[in-house]
C-alpha cells in the first residue's frame, strides 16, 4: 500500500522529486503464508509488511525516521520537517542528538507517546500469539490483520495505523538522541525489531490443511 497510496500521492512525489534522492532497500524477503485447501485451491497472503522511512545525509547517515506505514498527509509533513532540520543544521552529529533529545524531552513532558494499557495489551497479545499458537493459526491471523489491505466495497481499502505514530516516534527520538550516527542498514534491527516489533525474517510458508490434527474425535454411536 506504500506503493499505491503514499508514494503515488502527488504532493509526496513532488516533494521527493524536488528535494531528495529516493532509494529503497529490502530488509528481508516478504513473508507469505499459503494455505493449501486441496483440489488446486489455495489461500495466499502476506504476513506483516512494516516499513520505515529514513532521512539520511549525503554520506548515508540517518538523521530522522518515520516509522511504519503512515498516511500521505503524515508522510508529507514528516518529510517537510526532516528537510527543514537538514537545511537549518546540515544534520551534523551533534545537531541530530540535540534535536531528537529536545523532541523526546518535549514528548515526555507532555505525556505524548507513552505506552498505555491498550498498547501493552496489543503488544502482549502479539507476543502470546507468536509464542503459543500453532504456526498456521499465527500466519492466518497475521494475513488477515495485515495492513496491506482489506477487500470490500468493490476495491481494496488501505488500513493505516495512526494511533501508533507518537508511540513509535518517541522511541525513535530516544534512539537517535542517545546512539551514534549510523546508516539505515545498521539501524534496521533496532527500528524493525525494537520499535516496530516486526521479525526480520521472510519466505513462503506453506500449510497443507489435510495434515491438521482434529480437535476431538467424536465417536459415532453404534
Amino acid at each position: 500500500m506504500a506503493r499505491t497510496v503514499t508514494f503515488s500521492h502527488k504532493d509526496v512525489v513532488d516533494l521527493i522529486n524536488e528535494n531528495f534522492v529516493p532509494v529503497w532497500e529490502s530488509v528481508a524477503p516478504v513473508r507469505e503464508a499459503v494455505f493449501d485447501l486441496g483440489d488446486g485451491r489455495e489461500v495466499r497472503g502476506t504476513v506483516g509488511g512494516e516499513i520505515a522511512l529514513s532521512f539520511c545525509r549525503p554520506d548515508g547517515k540517518v538523521f530522522d525516521v518515520i516509522p511504519a506505514l503512515q498516511t500521505p498527509h503524515v508522510t508529507y509533513w514528516g518529510m517537510k520537517n526532516a528537510l527543514e532540520f537538514y537545511r537549518r543544521t546540515g544534520a551534523k552529529d551533534a545537531a541530530i542528538k540535540d534535536y531528537h533529545g529536545f523532541l523526546h524531552a518535549e514528548m515526555e513532558k507532555a505525556g505524548k507517546g507513552e505506552t498505555n494499557p491498550g498498547i501493552e495489551k496489543a503488544r502482549q497479545y502479539m507476543k502470546l500469539r507468536r509464542l503459543s499458537w500453532d504456526p498456521a493459526t499465527h500466519d492466518l491471523a497475521g494475513t488477515v490483520g495485515n495492513k496491506s489491505g482489506v477487500h470490500g466495497a468493490g476495491g481494496t481499502i488501505t488500513v493505516f495505523q495512526p494511533g501508533g505514530l507518537d508511540y513509535y516516534r518517541r522511541m525513535i527520538h530516544k534512539l537517535l538522541s542517545t546512539k551514534e550516527t549510523r546508516s539505515p542498514e545498521d539501524w534496521k534491527r533496532e527500528v524493525f525489531t525494537g520499535v516496530l516489533d516486526a521479525e526480520l525474517k521472510g519466505g513462503v510458508e506453506r500449510y497443507d490443511l489435510n495434515t491438521l490434527e482434529p480437535f476431538a474425535v467424536i465417536e459415532e454411536e453404534e
Binding site: A2, S8, F20, P22, P58
Partner: protein, 131 residues
C-alpha cells in the same frame, strides 16, 4: 581462408552502407520509434513480449512517456506495461513520476547536488507485485 573471411566481412559492411543510403542512420531508428515498436510487441506472444520488456527496461526513462500513454483493454498487455514501468521506476504500480535508486551506493554516487537521501526500508521488493 582467413582472407576469404575478411572479404566476406567487407562485402557485408558495404552492403549495409548501400542499403542505408546515408551512413547507416536508417538502421538505427530513433529511440521513440524503438519504444513504440517494443510497446506493440508487448501485445504479442509471450517470447517476443519478454524480449520487448527487456528492451524497454534498457531504454529506461526515455520509454516512460509512451508507456504511460499506452492504452488497451487486454489485461495481459496492461500487466506487461506495468511490469516495464515498475522495473524502470523501482516501484510496482507506479505512474512513472518517481524513480527510485536500488541501493544506497547508487544513491550516493548519483547525488551530485548533495541532497538528503530518502531510504524506504521494507519487506520484499518495492518493484514487485507482492511486498
Amino acid at each position: 581462408m582467413r582472407n576469404m573471411r575478411r572479404l566476406g566481412t567487407l562485402l557485408i559492411a558495404g552492403a549495409a552502407l548501400l542499403s542505408s543510403g546515408s551512413g547507416g542512420e536508417a538502421q538505427d531508428p530513433a529511440p521513440q520509434d524503438r519504444v513504440l515498436t517494443a510497446i506493440e510487441r508487448l501485445r504479442g506472444e509471450a517470447e517476443g513480449a519478454k524480449e520487448a520488456i527487456q528492451q524497454l527496461v534498457n531504454l529506461g526513462e526515455t520509454a516512460l512517456p509512451k508507456l504511460r500513454a499506452a492504452a488497451g483493454t487486454d489485461p495481459v498487455f496492461l500487466k506487461r506495461v506495468k511490469t516495464v514501468i515498475s522495473r524502470i521506476t523501482g516501484q510496482w504500480g507506479s505512474d512513472g513520476r518517481l524513480i527510485w535508486k536500488r541501493s544506497m551506493e547508487e544513491a550516493r554516487k548519483s547525488n551530485v547536488k548533495g541532497r538528503p537521501i530518502l531510504v524506504l526500508q521494507l519487506f520484499g521488493k518495492f518493484d514487485e507485485e507482492f511486498c
